[in-house]
């Protein structure tokens, strides 16, 4: 039965378009999605999922389970980077380990959206608060990643170099304190990041405008699957290019990029089952939040906060390995495990 779900997922249009994109890279086709469009699809998906979640929330009650789910999300966002860091540290430098670890603490919105699409297809309900949960999980990992980095690089006396990089950028003059990290900037960047803002904003707008708001949005929302397919076509192109540019310890990264999400997913499932007691739909979304890794916001934030980390290491793992793994196998697999456990 497991296989059947996975196959059904693979044979859904968005996933097939993902493969089409990857195939086009393999055969060196000139298929190309203009950058402005890819940005539009991202904005649309965030806006739509936020609005939908807000509308959903406006029709439901704030239960203790919801609150504890949100809390559990925050905890996972802080916990994952820590154990990911120690795993990575066996092969990589402090900087790279901290940067990669941070991406796994955060989430990938499109992986989440794919899971929502999966649930919608099989008509499994889920709560609007899970969208809020996603928004909550976007940023804490950035902070944790930086803290990990500061803590361990101080230990290893490499901190000085970082200071120098930051010092160079600010033209030699360092602001009051002497730490390299400008926490002010980092925090505001993390929490007022464009996608977090749009997601939370749409959530609130969907919540506030309730049913009449939703009605005016419905035919916009109807494009959801089509645009997701388009987006995954583009992501297939990008992910295939990323996987080709994998460097360093490729085998280790391949294992890490698939086993880490799997492990995080299992932790997530166990939390849902034995601590939170969520519904099946919410459990899948919680799991996918734990399992997914950020390949846009966190690497960009890390580039600013930990300049010595090599983004050519971070992005290929998160986008080239973990993203396809989750979207193709992860979602149906986690769902299979959940339905087995919940019975």
């Amino acid at each position: 039965m497991d296989l059947k779900i996975i196959l059904d997922n693979i044979l859904s249009p968005p996933i097939l378009f993902f493969f089409l994109g990857a195939f086009s890279v393999a055969v060196k086709s000139n298929l190309e999605i203009p950058h402005a469009l890819a940005q539009f699809f991202t904005l649309y998906l965030l806006m739509d999922i936020g609005f939908k979640g807000g509308h959903e929330l406006s029709t439901s009650q704030l239960t203790p389970t919801i609150l504890s789910t949100l809390g559990a999300c925050m905890i996972m966002a802080c916990l994952v980077p820590i154990y990911a860091y120690f795993t990575l540290r066996t092969k990589f430098s402090v900087e790279n380990s901290a940067a990669i670890a941070a991406t796994y603490g955060s989430v990938s919105a499109v992986t989440f959206v794919s899971a929502v699409s999966f649930l919608t297809t099989i008509k499994q309900p889920f709560g609007g608060h899970m969208v809020a949960a996603m928004a909550l999980m976007e940023s804490p990992a950035i902070i944790i990643g930086v803290i990990i980095y500061q803590f361990f690089s101080a230990k290893e006396l490499q901190k000085i170099k970082v200071d120098e990089a930051e010092l160079a950028l600010s033209g030699g003059k360092m602001e009051h304190n002497h730490t390299a990290i400008n926490w002010n900037h980092l925090l505001s960047d993390a929490f007022f990041n464009g996608s977090v803002l749009l997601l939370l904003g749409s959530l609130i707008i969907g919540y506030v405008t309730g049913k009449p708001g939703w009605k005016s949005f419905e035919s916009f929302d109807a494009l959801f699957k089509g645009i997701l397919a388009f987006y995954l076509l583009d992501n297939g192109i990008i992910a295939a290019r990323q996987i080709r540019s994998l460097q360093g310890n490729v085998i280790f990264l391949l294992c890490f990029g698939t086993l880490m999400p799997l492990f995080n997913a299992i932790v997530g499932i166990l939390i849902c089952k034995y601590i939170l007691g969520t519904s099946i739909g919410d459990a899948l979304l919680f799991t996918i939040l734990c399992a997914s890794a950020s390949y846009i916001a966190v690497p960009a934030a890390m580039r600013l906060a930990i300049p010595k980390a090599n983004p050519a290491l971070t992005v290929p793992v998160a986008l080239g390995i973990t993203f396809p793994f989750n979207v193709i196998f992860g979602i149906p697999l986690y769902y299979f495990i959940i339905t087995s456990l919940w019975k």
């Binding site: 990323q242 540019s245 390949y295 010595k308 983004p311």
Partner: protein, 100 residues
């Protein structure tokens, strides 16, 4: 026409805000930013992963006098020690225009 320097900079897009801020601190008379570039340098091909913002670079240039150019170069020398990019300087004659 005033003998001037044209300083051209290619640098990681995520760092551009800070650099622009510093250019203003240095007191350059102006600058022009050309977005949407791709390229290749010591750190490899750059348009591989446009979705990943970290790989984006930006091209900007400043026309200014010798001293400012010197200051920018000194500044960029520090920056390029740690960040990906390129910087080079050439001679230009700037049209001195007085507003009517």
């Amino acid at each position: 026409m005033i003998k001037s320097k044209k300083v051209e900079i290619i640098v990681e897009s995520v760092k551009v805000n800070k650099i622009v801020y510093q250019l203003e601190e240095i007191g350059v008379p102006g600058f022009t930013i050309v977005g949407n570039i791709s390229g290749k340098g010591s750190t490899g091909v750059l348009d591989h992963a446009r979705k990943a913002k970290v790989f984006e670079h930006t091209y900007l240039f400043i026309v200014c006098d010798e001293e400012h150019a010197q200051a920018i170069v000194e500044y960029m020398r520090g920056v390029l020690k740690y960040f990906s990019g390129s910087c080079f300087v050439s001679d230009v004659l700037l049209l001195r225009s007085e507003k009517a």
